[in-house]
């Protein structure tokens, strides 16, 4: 038996050396390891006929042979895999093919389109508003009283001219939407916003998503459910939303919301600073004063806080992109280095 095994081994080594391509190799595999007619397989079948005393030694010889055949075949596959040795015809298929390579969309645009898609699926209309805003839309209509310290947190760029500024948030789009539509409203707006601030995590230009839902009997619970659905879709995993009381003049009750950490699912890791949660943005129930001010400007009670309510929320597009792609410096988004941009093909 041992001798037979040795002979087959020699024969196999010769056959394998002569096999010059994947097809020839798979033929060799079939010849030796094939279930029905494989030479090694046949040896194993014959083992039954070997006297019990010699069976252990014979079995181990056959097993050695089988291991040798398998590993030699695997080595050969690995050696030739991917190298696509030139064929006699002179075509080197390892040379790069001819590609008209399309450009890439900026990662901010990619997140923007994802966010748009999610809201469109949920039946939201996409809203928009000017980037050079008036004080009235950016602050007044959003219930920031004139000369109120709450304005300090907004680091506003002022534009020379009549009460003009660069919008500090997408929330003025809420007001444009309320003025230009009728309830019920489901609106999402994505756009550029500006803050007088610049460091690793703050850029003087960045992008926000704004959501606004107004209708009869809209509650805080709808806000939470919407945030959970939205954040889950953005990060492609189920998330838990945690609301914390906060203060934004245009919502009451106001909240900041966190999601269960998308990296550790809540057990604590470096990105979530061990808390299990990641800060996302601000939210709350539309302040009745916002509705009342819109009514006053419209000269009609289009939004009666007695009969309808609404919620609003916001978050940063860059923040989503940074979390999704592990980017740690917000300024990279605005350098437009192709070595950065090309990392996000789409």
């Amino acid at each position: 038996m041992k001798e037979r095994a040795l002979a087959i081994r020699r024969q196999f080594d010769g056959d394998l050396a002569a096999a010059s391509g994947p097809a020839a190799r798979s033929e060799v595999r079939l010849r030796y390891l094939g279930r029905r007619a494989g030479l090694v397989t046949a040896l194993l079948k014959d083992l039954r006929a070997v006297p019990a005393a010699e069976r252990a030694a014979a079995g181990s010889a056959i097993n050695d042979l089988k291991a040798h055949v398998e590993s030699a075949l695997a080595d050969a596959e690995a050696r030739f895999a991917g190298t696509g040795a030139p064929t006699p015809a002179g075509v080197d298929a390892t040379l790069p093919g001819l590609v008209w390579r399309p450009g890439t969309l900026h990662p901010i645009t990619q997140v923007r389109e994802l966010v748009e898609e999610i809201f469109l699926e949920m039946g939201y209309a996409l809203g928009a508003g000017p980037e050079v805003e008036t004080d009235a839309y950016n602050f007044g209509a959003l219930n920031f009283p004139p000369d109120h310290p709450a304005r300090d947190t907004q680091d506003t760029f002022f534009v020379e001219g009549n009460d003009l500024l660069l919008r500090t948030h997408t929330s003025p789009v809420q007001i444009h939407t309320l003025e230009d539509s009728h309830p019920p409203i489901k609106m999402a707006a994505i756009g550029r916003v500006f803050r007088r601030d610049s460091d690793l995590t703050h850029s003087p230009v960045f992008h926000q998503v704004e959501g606004l839902v107004v209708g009869p009997a809209i509650t805080f619970a709808h806000l939470k459910g919407t945030l959970e659905h939205f954040c889950g879709r953005v990060f492609e995993r189920a998330v838990v939303v945690r609301l914390r009381p906060s203060y934004f003049p245009f919502v009451e009750p106001g909240a900041e919301y966190d999601i269960s950490c998308i990296f550790c699912s809540g057990s604590g890791c470096r990105p979530c600073k061990g808390s299990g949660f990641i800060e996302m943005g601000g939210a709350g129930m539309v302040h009745p004063a916002v509705f009342e001010q819109v009514n006053r400007r419209l000269g009609e009670t289009r939004y009666d806080p007695e009969n309808l309510s609404g919620f609003a929320f916001g978050l940063g597009i860059e923040r989503i992109a940074m979390l999704k792609h592990g980017i740690d410096d917000i300024r990279l988004f605005y350098e437009n280095d192709l070595r950065f941009l090309s990392q996000f093909p789409a």
Partner: protein
């Protein structure tokens, strides 16, 4: 804002670890930023929102904590052991600006000895990062951090006439404030003056002239209520932000002046061996009415989407010193405590209740609203179409800041740019009037880093001042430099040229329904002479195409040719209308190639026009498949190989009739454009 654990424990019994205290308050809307130290020496750093000045002191924060855990609040002792007599005439206090000072309470403490504070007081202040100064100043500072009301101590003997006048500053008046700066005052600023001159900036900072010093014997303590907007405007105008102004501009407690005044007077009497004189003096030209809110408990569940026990509602409010008077079925009259100036209507009370019980168990629901399917607006569709076209043309998207240098506006013909009043840097003080400067900077950035090719586009708003109003326009722009596509070993290496830019623009034009392009040669300041084209639509210029002027690109640090285009998307089109189906040709067409030699200035457009005009058979398309000049072609001429596709909708064309038409075309080209055939091409 810093708070000591031990200090808080003076007003409420705390059984929990500092970390738990911090988490509990965070869940109730007072956000913990961090904790230093442990146990009794722990110091909290809380981020307190602008609407909660009542929490910006230890007693106030203790009240919030006590409400959350159900402990009782222990108020500090404010009982003053006031003397019956006084050592001199009581100070005369007049409020002239009653609109900006709605309460002024004062006391005199006499016979004091100014010196260092006792250890307990110094330690309290130092624990939260405050620097002890002397016993009188420290006492007022302590009361600010204890009870939240900012106080000021004047050396009464340095107040001329022993008088206090609360008034607006007179034009030209100045005040040397405690920080040693001589400040010019405006007539809108509220000051505390003596008989002659301002001695303090009301609610912000005192003056040097009446500062408490070693020789001070009689102190006038001020505890007032100043108008938040006035304090804020003055503080901002002077660039002077203090612990006092921080609280006044957020709204101090108008009913809290006396307790704070007495507390400070009591402490000063104790630690500076002084005597509290009879008083207090308390002027209230216009007291605040109590805020009473009609409140329907049923609204809580209606807004929060979760049922809340009435007992919990009562607890949330009464523990925070709101008073509840039932006024009918589902109606309470809730009186708001004077220190809660942020609470004015029912939703504020709902938030109090929601904060008290925590936001944790709010269920997650999705709103069920009828909707009209929403969708994208015209602007979004246009931007989307343009983005996809340029990406397909091999360009990568850039996103640049909107703020640029003035030169960036002027060099690219931007008239009337919008300027920022408070730019972050002088080089970014205007809003962009063109997308090209940003893209050129990106180009320089990439080429300087050794990238062999840079093909970038941007879609975004540019800004102009139009009849004094801001005008925002959505534009698309791109720049191309370096290696061209395709980059492949089977192709000769080539650099981008004007036709790469033209091709990208063609693709864009097709996607936004602007095809065929209306291009005309033009002199455009920032483009190379004779390599600049204007894109027109209905007689209006809506963009440009060309090679960036060499001097200009060198300014941006670019050492090789750059081809670019910019187009006003909104003016260009409204996105593609749904195409109408045309039946497929049922009969085979015939293609004929012609190799023409024409003068260099004869354009392809003029050749195509002659071909189409002359042909007596329908033409599907006219293509160029080669362009050549050099050896073999006479000087000043160019060889142009074109292909004409004849296609009849109703029949198969015969070779003879096509040949006849072809001959007519050749004759017409020769007659009208001086074109000759280079060599007969195979049909």
């Amino acid at each position: 804002m810093k708070f000591g654990h031990a200090w808080l424990s003076s007003y409420v019994t705390i059984h929990e670890e500092p970390a738990r205290v911090g988490a509990r308050l965070t869940d109730a809307g007072v956000t913990l930023d961090g904790i230093e130290g442990a146990g009794g020496t722990a110091v909290y750093d809380f981020d307190i929102f602008a609407n909660r000045p009542d929490c910006m002191n230890h007693l106030g924060l203790a009240r919030e904590y006590a409400a959350l855990v159900g402990e009782t609040l222990r108020r500090p002792d404010s009982a003053v052991d006031a003397a019956t007599g006084s050592t001199g005439p009581p100070p005369g206090i007049v409020i002239e600006a009653a609109d900006l000072c709605r309460r002024y309470s004062a006391r005199v403490v006499s016979g004091i000895r100014v010196g260092p504070s006792p250890a307990w007081l110094r330690e309290r202040l130092e624990s939260i990062g405050q620097r002890p100064i002397n016993n009188v100043v420290d006492a007022t500072n302590f009361v600010l951090w204890e009870m939240g009301h900012p106080l000021h101590a004047f050396d009464l003997d340095h107040l001329e006439g022993g008088r206090i006048v609360v008034r607006r500053a007179a034009a030209g008046e100045t005040l040397l404030t405690l920080d040693g700066i001589d400040r010019k005052l405006l007539s809108t600023m509220l000051v505390i003056a003596d008989a002659r001159r301002p001695v303090a900036l009301a609610g912000i900072m005192g003056g040097r002239a009446s500062e408490i010093g070693p020789a001070t014997r009689r102190v006038l303590l001020e505890s007032a209520w100043f108008d938040p907007v006035s304090v804020r405007r003055t503080s901002r105008a002077l660039g002077l932000h203090t612990d006092a102004s921080h609280r006044f501009e957020r709204g101090a407690d108008p009913e809290g002046t006396l307790a704070a005044l007495d507390r400070a007077a009591k402490i000063i009497a104790e630690i500076a061996s002084g005597r509290v004189e009879s008083g207090p003096i308390d002027l209230r030209p216009s007291p605040f009415p109590k805020t009473v809110i009609p409140f329907r408990p049923s609204r809580v569940a209606a807004l929060l989407g979760v049922a809340v026990d009435v007992i919990v509602m009562r607890e949330a409010l009464t523990r925070r010193e709101f008073q509840i008077a039932p006024a009918g079925s589902d109606l309470w009259q809730v009186t708001v405590p004077s220190f809660r100036r942020d609470v004015s209507r029912d939703v504020d009370l709902i938030e109090e209740i929601a904060r008290h019980r925590g936001y944790g168990d709010i269920p997650s629901l999705l709103p069920l609203l009828p909707d009209d399917g929403g969708g994208r607006g015209a602007g979004e569709r246009l931007g989307h179409a343009a983005r996809e076209a340029l990406r397909a043309a091999g360009l990568s998207e850039a996103i640049n800041y909107s703020m640029v240098d003035r030169d960036d506006c002027e060099l690219f013909g931007g008239k009337a740019p919008l300027a920022l009043a408070n730019p972050l840097q002088a080089k970014a003080a205007f809003l962009r009037t063109s997308l090209l400067p940003g893209l050129l900077r990106n180009l320089a950035h990439n080429l300087n880093r050794g990238l062999p090719a840079c093909h970038l586009f941007e879609i975004g708003l540019v800004f102009h001042r139009l009849r004094e109003a801001p005008d925002e326009r959505l534009r698309a722009a791109f720049v191309l430099a370096g290696r061209g596509q395709p980059f492949h070993w089977s192709f000769p290496r080539r650099e981008v040229d004007l036709y790469d830019a033209r091709g990208a623009l063609d693709l864009l034009a097709e996607r936004i329904d602007l095809s065929p392009l209306d291009l005309s040669s033009d002199r455009i300041g920032f483009l190379e002479l004779a390599r600049g084209l204007t894109i027109g639509k209905e007689g209006r210029a809506i963009g440009c195409l060309g090679e960036v002027a060499r001097l200009l690109r060198e300014r941006y640090g670019i050492d090789r040719p750059v081809f670019c285009a910019e187009i006003d998307l909104a003016a260009a089109g409204s996105g593609r209308a749904p195409g109408q189906f045309r039946p497929l040709p049922r009969f085979p067409g015939i293609r004929r190639d012609l190799a023409l030699v024409v003068a260099r200035q004869v354009t392809f457009a003029s050749i195509e026009a002659v071909v189409r005009k002359t042909a007596a058979l329908p033409i599907a398309e006219v293509l160029v498949f080669d362009r050549y000049f050099g050896p073999g072609v006479p000087e000043g001429k160019v060889s142009l190989a074109i292909q004409i596709a004849f296609q009849h909708p109703e029949r198969t064309l015969s070779a003879e009739e096509v040949q006849a038409v072809q001959d007519a075309i050749v004759a017409a080209l020769e007659r009208e454009l001086g074109a000759t055939l280079r060599a007969p091409a195979a049909g």
